[in-house]
Assembly symmetry: C2
Homo-oligomer: 303 residues x 2
Amino acid sequence: MTLLVVGSVALDSVKTPFGEAREVLGGAATYFSVAASYYTSVSMIAVVGTDFPKTHIDFLKSQNIEIDGLEIREGKTFRWAGAYGYDLNERDTIDTSLNVFENFNPKLLEKHKESEYVFLANIDPVLQHSVINQVESPRFCALDTMNFWIDNKNSELKKTISEVDAFVLNDSECRHLAEEPNLIKAARKIIEMGPRILVVKKGEHGALLFTKENVFSAPAFPIEDVFDPTGAGDSFAGGFMGHIAKTGDITEENMRRAILYGTVMASFCVEKFSVEGMVNIGEKEIEERFSMLREMVNFGSEN
Amino acid sequence: MTLLVVGSVALDSVKTPFGEAREVLGGAATYFSVAASYYTSVSMIAVVGTDFPKTHIDFLKSQNIEIDGLEIREGKTFRWAGAYGYDLNERDTIDTSLNVFENFNPKLLEKHKESEYVFLANIDPVLQHSVINQVESPRFCALDTMNFWIDNKNSELKKTISEVDAFVLNDSECRHLAEEPNLIKAARKIIEMGPRILVVKKGEHGALLFTKENVFSAPAFPIEDVFDPTGAGDSFAGGFMGHIAKTGDITEENMRRAILYGTVMASFCVEKFSVEGMVNIGEKEIEERFSMLREMVNFGSEN
């Protein structure tokens, strides 16, 4: 069924030890949509400025991403610039110019209100909450956030968290939100805030899925040449939600497989700048990496 | 079959945010032996001073650890003092007094020369090499090290690495030795140095097992109350080697299970000071944690 994503579309300038890219297609909703497009039909709600290149519009359409909800507003597109050193887990943000994204106020079209699967990428939790209210009867709704909202809109964020099925965040955000250094304890505290599923992204260390009863551990894909980690978390979310929407299966067992599909999409993402690593990949390549991840945690039938 | 370990026995003073312990039983060979003693008979080669408390001797014997190779030399026992903050992955060494350990020169008794399974805990790689030469026909020999030897005895260490079956080290040591920030590439470089098996310990992020062809990823046990991480790596190695020696099975599939048993022993270790967390544990508790780890990577039979 249709998967809706609400979030940013940006023009990114990125510098890594391996190269530099200027004003390339970026933003959480972009990475998410491109990753999810390999699994299901995706509708994107976002805003760009009148300077947003038509080639990017054409590219999104060519990926079968439905962009009737992509508003083009007078002004400049959101721009982000960042740099990574050899420790690709650490990045410096050089510039964030919100531009038209500053006044983003997602209004869903009638057709989007019927969406069954919804991903609220990292935006103001008040806006995330307004999107939840606009969707008539979502079957599975997931949320991402960032440290900025944990610090500045804490109570609003907690209210929004309490209304979603799944919460996706990285390990430092998890500790930060729970105010608890032990990750397992932190995760338990967040599960108490309401979501049935908590997904903790740990970058090169893989991901954990928590429910009230269980913990599932997924390895990272063993990438020898991480070129640019920008967008990895959103691509992960795209694979995760894409698989769930494709299968329509919201059991915990299927969530575990969804985490591996998320991991696969993140692994393609980090191999090139922008979304280039996720362009023109086939089902065979996706399934090959899925199988490899499966083998990485296979320790035989005997025990 | 008999498992031989060569390494340090120490008196540790440790401070964590949760408490403080003074002059408690420590050292790599101690943690290793206690962990491995739940799987197989262990012989320990080490040195202590005349000040080494008889209660510790009695304790080691009570764990069925064979200590005929524990030399008691005139002088003081090796002492180590360290402190941890809330980030238990980082520790400050406050004091290292090698004392009698400074002139440790392991001489194997005749009966030890027939050992089939050998673990060379973190000591000078020249001494590790001399132990390998003393063992007549080891079936499976594994090695640990530390950054100090990577910096100060690099060529000697590489020679020793080339002569063992398995090399066990942590992720920062792996990157350091290979001079390569990407962990997967670093592991590949180390496998090229000779060992068939490389085990990379990642603390709270679990462990990876590399062979020339494959990567296996093991989760960490989800411990909510890590009390003192001292000795976790050596306890891990003890469970790993203990399971291998117990089963006599050196296939890659069994190595994968051995890694999970190592993870289980490390999880008991970190719950208390010294080796207290590993005292009086039953096979049932070990198997329960093993099963829980297995469940943590189980994503159903469908895929």
